[in-house]
């Protein structure tokens, strides 16, 4: 009997040791509770995966969801307000990879950062879901992130299926021009997230041969490339739709103008590589292939 008691005590002691020794080494990092994000897309992602309550600071241009606007504003890409960021005592700050000054400052203040980079891959749309996954892991909402990412992937795949096999119209994707004129037209080149959206929506970029994110589309260029569809996004809500559309009329030989296939898609989800990208792709697909969505 004495031997049994001794072994039990031994086992208990060993078990206790094992537990105690595991505790410090196996301690998982706590999920960040005070998150600051300078990137509109990342802010949206955070709110979408349920991390919204933990977000205490957002960038100046973060407008979605509306709740985000109630958080403290801390600047943007060009002018991050470092003092304010530090004063919020965050435990995670999402910054652009290019903001080297800010990154150095965060390092010095021992504040962990999450690096974000605008994708320049041909498959930039897929990078969005990849970002959602990595971000959600970083903030400890992995499951919600995985769910959101899968949802987006499925949604986009479904759009792709709807337009698969249909002829891809030559599309000019315009993301900026001087209000109501044809001056200063900027269109998407064959690189970047806008091009990715266009591709997923079943369009063929007229500038598929230009390996740049943006190209200034001069009058001659537009006439020469003769797009069959013109899609305009990033439109300022103040400008008149009728006057804007009328400006294109002078390019009479462009097929898109002659067949009145000029679509203005308003809404900032069109310009933000964020969680609403599936909806953006779908809206674009509806414009390019209306018959597929009846």
């Amino acid at each position: 009997m004495a031997a049994d008691k001794k072994s039990i005590v031994l086992v208990v002691i060993i078990a206790l040791f094992a537990l105690c020794s595991r505790a410090p080494t196996a301690q998982a990092p706590a999920a960040p509770q005070r998150i600051v994000s300078l990137i509109p897309a990342v802010t949206e992602m955070l709110f979408s995966i349920g991390a919204g309550p933990r977000v205490i600071g957002v960038g100046n241009f973060d407008r979605y969801p509306p709740e985000a606007q109630t958080r403290t504003k801390v600047g943007g890409l060009i002018d991050p307000d470092i003092e304010r960021i530090i004063s919020l005592k965050p435990d995670l700050v999402a910054v652009y990879a290019t903001q080297t000054d800010l990154r150095t400052q965060m390092e010095r203040a021992r504040i962990p950062v999450y690096l974000y980079q605008h994708s320049v891959d041909p498959d930039a749309v897929a990078d969005i879901t990849a970002t959602i996954r990595s971000l959600s892991k970083r903030v400890g909402s992995e499951r919600a992130g995985e769910e959101l990412a899968r949802h987006i992937d499925d949604d986009i795949a479904s759009t792709r299926r709807r337009v698969a096999g249909k002829p891809r119209p030559k599309t000019l994707l315009v993301f900026g021009r001087d209000a109501e004129t044809l001056r200063g037209i900027y269109a998407s080149g064959a690189v970047g997230f806008l091009h990715g959206m266009l591709d997923a929506a079943g369009g063929a970029n007229v500038f598929a041969d230009v390996n740049r994110q943006s190209i200034q589309a001069t009058t001659e260029l537009i006439l020469a490339r003769a797009p069959e569809v013109i899609v305009e996004i990033g439109i300022d809500t103040a400008s008149s739709k009728s006057r804007s559309l009328r400006a294109w009329a002078v390019l009479g030989s462009v097929p898109a103008v002659r067949t009145h296939r000029i679509y203005q898609i308003r809404g900032d989800e069109m310009m933000n590589p964020g969680p609403r990208v599936a909806r953006a792709v779908r809206r674009m697909a509806e414009a390019l292939h209306p018959e597929a969505f009846k």
Binding site: G76, G176, E180, L251, S253
Partner: protein
């Protein structure tokens, strides 16, 4: 050769040169077009891509280049005579800074089009230039004895600095894409794509050039000294006023049309003086034609150099003008 013949030859020679450049420029471009189709009237215009490229994309652009180039070069000559300084440019006295501020505000506030389909940017830009002119003129006239060129220079340079600071401030307040647009505007853009802006620019330019037609003799005298001019019967105050206002008007109209394209107002007059001498009756018309040819040539380069991409025309004039200017300075040592 008598001065009469020299004037005639200058007009003919430089005029012909400008005409030839403007004739050939629309034939060149980043796209190759079929010229038999361009002028084929049997094809309806709306279907004729080649004609559209020629008449909608290229021709207005060449005309804009000619107008802007002529205006800036001529204004440069007038300012240089007025300020008695060959290094003066149309942008020295703040007109262009006012135009830039107007354009910046229109771009940043994303103002919708102003009047009858004209874009807000040129209108705001022109208004800005007129504002700058009014301020400089008002400051220079505050002294009782008419327009003092020293005060004019001081007022202009000060206004330049002040407006430039305001421009930076507006850029800072704007968001990223708007800032990019404003910076791009500063590099010049002649792609007007319609004849309306050209027609709108005609009245101020016509007024300015009408004044330029009567100024050269006075400019010869004024460029020596106020007293030389007065002693020879020139109404100095009136001539200075006319010179300042007409050159500023031309500059404002040109900048509103194509943005502040640099180097034309100083490179072309210098080059012209090397060829024809200092008499303004030769220098002014020759510079106007030379400016037109120079800018149209630069714009042709700008749209073919890196096709399909376009190098902003102000960058091209700087790349050509800068080294040329350095060479001029070295040569004069």
């Amino acid at each position: 050769m008598s001065i009469r013949r020299r004037i005639a030859f200058t007009w003919l020679g430089f005029g012909a040169g400008a005409f030839v450049v403007c004739l050939f420029a629309p034939l060149i471009g980043s796209t190759s077009i079929d010229f038999s189709r361009v002028f084929d009237t049997s094809i309806p215009f709306a279907d004729n891509t080649d004609a559209q490229i020629f008449f909608v994309a290229r021709l207005p652009r060449v005309l804009a280049g000619a107008m802007v180039g002529a205006a800036l070069a001529a204004a440069g000559v007038v300012f240089q005579a007025l300020l008695r300084n060959p290094l003066a440019t149309p942008f020295t006295l703040g007109v262009s800074a006012g135009a830039a501020l107007g354009a910046m505000l229109a771009l940043t506030l994303n103002l919708p089009s102003g009047i009858a389909g004209f874009s807000a940017v040129p209108i705001a830009s022109f208004a800005g230039s007129l504002g700058a002119v009014a301020i400089v003129y008002g400051l220079a006239r505050a002294r009782r004895q008419g327009l003092s060129t020293n005060v004019l220079l001081l007022a202009g340079v000060t206004l330049n600095s002040f407006f430039s600071a305001l421009i930076l401030f507006v850029q800072f307040l704007a968001d990223y894409t708007q800032t990019f647009r404003t910076v791009r505007w500063l590099m010049g853009d002649l792609d007007v794509s319609s004849y309306a802006p050209l027609i709108a620019a005609v009245p101020p330019l016509a007024l300015s050039f009408a004044a330029f037609a009567v100024l050269p003799r006075s400019m010869n005298l004024l460029s020596i000294s106020d007293e030389s001019a007065a002693s020879r019967g020139v109404d100095v105050h009136r001539a200075q006023r006319l010179a300042f206002l007409s050159a500023s008007l031309a500059t404002g109209a040109a900048v509103s049309l194509g943005g502040p394209v640099g180097f034309i107002g100083i490179v072309v007059p210098h080059l012209v003086r090397l060829l024809v001498g200092a008499d303004h009756r030769l220098v002014l018309p020759a510079s106007a034609f030379g400016g037109a040819a120079f800018l149209v040539a630069c714009d042709t380069l700008s749209r073919t150099m890196l096709a399909p991409l376009e190098v902003p025309v102000g960058v091209v004039t700087a790349i050509i003008g800068g080294p040329f200017f350095l060479w001029l300075l070295i040569r004069n040592r």
